[in-house]
């Protein structure tokens, strides 16, 4: 496979599907779905293969592809992955592959357009995780954000116009601020070496003055932080989740929010001293995410809102893990990005499955569903337990690592964060009890369980991933670690210096 452009193929295969779908007739739904499944299968297969063949011992960026694009500005099509990106690419593949199946069940009109936007979005996400060129990084970042607008606006549920406007405006604001930071890096790095280039490896290899780092890290932190979402700029996310159709919520919470965290990781890598300066602040804000998000989730009655706030609460753990700047915490943060992505995709696919039939998501509208939809109930329970950090599921390992890492650097923060999982358990179990347990209601007698292969496949895949990583985390932690170690080493060197 030497020389095979594996990254390009992973990224471009959804894009190729989009182009292909342009020429397919709307009515030929089977062909449309077939193309979507085929392209995402290619990506998923290659992502798993990527995880296997990534050389952990060597570490660093591998599978590099570089084609000059605009020589005079120093822009090139430059892809490459390190351990962190490999995990993220795999996550993206998992979520989109299952998302395609979820959409199969959930989306009933304008199927072709739906898949086109979905796949377009995903190739943007892949691009962000793989790009080593700031221009392409930003381009893909926007490509991942913009299709959200039609996806929510056209196929969304209640309040979708409001949600999609808010989401797009917020994310564009973040992107714009981040762009300022990126451009500043471009010019500063260019002035240093005399060669103006957007090459991330080149830019990261330089060292900048401490004052400059502190100044420029802030727009990057804010810009990417909005997407994480960093409190108090989180309010686009629950609204967006709630209005979006299932597959979009899955991508949104499962992958898109990770783009923000990934952006912050890259910013930390480029500007280590700036990161060291701002990380205590991030740790503080992450607590707001955890505690405040959890509390708001507790008081919500709409399941999607509940999961939405819960996501922002969980992303708080990711931020806390990043803020620790030690091996354990950062590894935990990246693993949590992965685990939470899978878990939350499961959550939204399940809620979507129920919502598509019941047309309500209010907790108090349901009771005793476990009798009617046992499969969904079991899957939901697993999701709830994963979310509240039950051992045996991937989130536990990740949260444990974050806690251990955080306990070293910020013991007080860690205590609050650990308390956060009690909050999570509270609302998850309450939701589980109210919706799936207690006496069955007559009005839900004709609710259908997930029976067919297509309906069950996404749930089964996501649960299987949670269990595999939960039982034996080393499968993925090794790869993540190979990406985290150089990052943390660089950051720690900055701390001493």
């Amino acid at each position: 496979m030497e020389g095979f452009p594996i990254l390009s193929v992973i990224m471009l295969s959804p894009l190729a599907a989009v182009l292909l779908l342009l020429f397919i007739d709307d009515a030929r739904v089977a062909v449309v779905r077939g193309i979507a499944i085929a392209s995402t299968s290619i990506s998923l297969g290659l992502s798993i293969y990527l995880l296997c063949i990534y050389d952990k011992a060597k570490g660093g960026f591998q599978f590099i592809e570089k084609i000059e694009w605009v020589r005079s500005l120093g822009i090139s099509y430059h892809l490459g992955v390190d351990g962190i990106s490999v995990a993220m690419v795999l996550l993206t593949s998992l979520v989109i592959f299952t998302g395609v199946f979820v959409s199969w069940v959930g989306i009933k009109h304008r199927i072709r357009e739906h898949y086109m936007f979905l796949l377009l979005l995903v190739s943007g996400v892949y691009g962000v995780f793989m790009s080593l060129d700031l221009v392409f990084f930003f381009l893909f970042y926007e490509l991942a954000v913009i299709p959200m607008y039609p996806l929510i606006g056209i196929w969304g549920s209640a309040n979708r116009e409001y949600a999609t406007m808010k989401l797009t405006l917020y994310l564009s604001l973040g992107a714009m601020v981040a762009l300022l930071g990126l451009l500043s890096l471009y010019f500063t790095a260019g002035a240093k070496t005399g060669v103006y280039t957007f090459d991330m490896l080149q830019i990261a290899s330089l060292s900048y003055e401490t004052g400059y780092q502190i100044k420029v890290f802030l727009p990057l932190l804010f810009g990417f932080g909005v997407l994480v979402p960093l409190a108090p700029f989180h309010s686009w996310s629950p609204t967006g989740h709630a209005a979006a159709p299932s597959a979009v919520s899955m991508l949104h919470a499962g992958v898109l929010m990770k783009l923000g965290a990934y952006g912050i990781i890259r910013a930390m890598w480029i500007l280590p001293e700036g990161a060291q300066y701002w990380m205590p602040w991030v740790a503080g804000l992450s607590l707001i995410n955890i505690f405040y998000g959890g509390m708001v989730a507790m008081s919500r009655r709409d399941m999607k809102f509940m999961i939405g706030y819960s996501s922002s609460s969980h992303m708080g753990y990711v931020l806390l893990g990043l803020a620790t700047v030690n091996y354990i915490g950062v590894n935990g943060a990246v693993l949590l990005m992965f685990a939470h992505g899978v878990m939350t995709a499961l959550a939204f696919s399940l809620i979507g499955f129920v919502y598509d039939q019941a047309h309500t998501r209010m907790i108090y509208d349901f009771s005793g569903l476990a009798k009617k939809v046992p499969f969904v109930a079991v899957a939901f329970a697993i999701m709830g337990f994963a979310s509240s950090g039950l051992p045996g599921l991937a989130n536990f390992v990740a949260e444990l690592m974050v806690f251990i890492g955080a306990f070293k650097e910020y013991p007080i923060h860690a205590i609050v964060a650990v308390f956060g999982i009690i909050i999570t358990a509270t609302y998850m179990l309450r939701c589980l009890r109210d919706v799936f347990f207690r006496e069955p209601m007559e009005k839900w007698d004709d609710l259908r369980d997930a029976r067919t292969f297509v309906e069950r496949l996404p749930f089964v895949i996501l649960i299987a991933v949670l269990l595999v990583v939960g039982f034996y985390p080393t499968v993925i932690v090794d790869v993540i670690n190979s990406g985290v170690v150089p990052l943390v080493d660089k950051l720690n060197a900055a701390k001493i210096g």
Binding site: Y292, S299, N326, G392, M401, V418, I421, E439
Partner: protein, 628 residues
Amino acid sequence: MDIWALLIVPLAAALIITFITRKRAELSSYVSVGAVVICFLIVLPYFVRMLGNPHFEHIEQSFLWLDIPGLMVEMGTIIDPLSLIMLFIVTFVGSLIHIYSRNYMHGEKGYARFFASLSLFIFSMLGIVLANNFIMIFVFWELVGLASYLLIGFYFEKPSAADAAKKAFLVNRIGDFGFILGIFVLYYATGTFNFIEMAHIIQAGNVSSGTLGLAALLIFCGAMGKSAQFPLHVWLPDAMEGPTPVSALIHAATMVAAGVYMLARTGFLYAAAPQEAMMVIAYIGGITAFMAALLALGQSDIKRIIAYSTLSSLGYMVMSVGVGGTGAGMFYLMTHAFFKALLFLGAGSVIHACHTNDIWEMGKLYPKMKVTAVTFILGALAMMGIFPFSGFWSKDEILTSVFSSGNYLLFGVGVLTAGITALFMTKVVAVTFFGEKRYHSHPHESPVGMTIPLVVLAIFAVIAGFAGLPGLDPNFGTFVSAVAGSAAAHAGEHGAHAEHHFNYFVAITSTIAVFIGIIIGWLIYSKKSIDNNAIAEKFSGFYKALQNRLYIDHFYDRVIVAGIYNNIARLFNFIEVYIIIHFVLNGIAYVTRQIGKALRLTISGQLQHYAFAMVGGVLVLMIIFVLL
């Protein structure tokens, strides 16, 4: 490798039932029973070998589970006398209860689900017992919590069961909050999770006593949740919503005792912890024991009475650990496992026959179900601590260690608790099996599949105490003191407690207390020479408080839970919705829209207005250019 089979077999059973035999109830139960019996058969040879040689070298096997710089977590098993005793109890009692459940649960709708959960429980419980490090014990600690959640919520359509399951899980979570923090403290103090390595580091005196005290108390929080110690005891009585075999297995014999087991396993920590921390633990145990015994008096649900008695027993064990009598605590744990499982199964048998939990709707069952009655009475006698039943020896050992540690207040509490225990056990036996007939159904003896476990357990309930017979060598204390990594294993101070001397003063005091309890109970509930209702009326306030569980649950529900739900969560939601979203965000949007509306007026649609604006703009730019 056969050690790992202990974990793999029950897990495999749970998976097989879930994925393959789900639809076939009978087969599922065989899979589950088979799994636990296999585990028992694996444990047995080790156990027998240990009886021959208590000081054998412990066996540790582990594999790397997570390895990143600064954090290396292993999953590993440890076989030493302590874990073998516990393994024996879990697999032996577990096997009996599995067999019992096959009949008891017969015809239930979720039969296969029940057995899958039981197997999951056995898997998790064995994981706790085998764990050789803190992370692993925590992992399985949580998993038993999950199994317990599933089994308490077995009748999930029943709101009370659904509530109880959630309550149990959450209360345990609060305990685990402390537990995990304690693990972190210890990890950063010693740099390892492994019990034995940690013990060596602590015994070398490398950790400050303040840290140890903090860690000891935090780790104890975990035990407090799992072993239902005051103030986290509230979940255990509610957990009786689960099927009776579950109550017997999880909420009496094994899981709730896991807290005590964990304290014994981490005995090195408690041996080194400062006295003040140990006192806290001892007093919490004492309070729990006494309070639970009182609460048991106020109940009329047979399962709840036994549940409170379990609480009381757990308090006893914890108290014992608190005063340094870990061996006594473990001894009590073992005997308790037998007689409490017996009592629960007996109660289950009675409930099975009468279709009610209320003892006042039973009465005079003895002629109808002799086996159940006899075994139940044997269990009750063991529980009360009548010579020479097992409870006598173990209770005596605890009281002796309390007495010899000089805590006379706690000793008094212990003796008083023993008396009250005797009183309410007499009540249960008298009201349920004797007196006049009050039942409405047609009770009959349970099938053989249910009575055989009763008989076997009864035998153990009677004789298990001899394992700790003073003067016997090796006796129970020897085994426990040989726990791997403990100071005693290296001939330290802990050995002193293992050298147990029979104390006649203690034995006689407690026996007198027990007989007073029995006599009062006999007078009230059997002879009726003291009117039950008159007492109830005389102490009506107190009696009512007892019936309402001293208002502790009430306090939690109304003040803490409601406080969090209604006030804090609502407050944050208010901030989120009204301040952040409506005020700030929609405010910004509103202002923007209003500005837009105002500026819109300048859009006249007149081409020449725009052109004029453009020319004017050019002029302004030119003037600026000139001026600069």
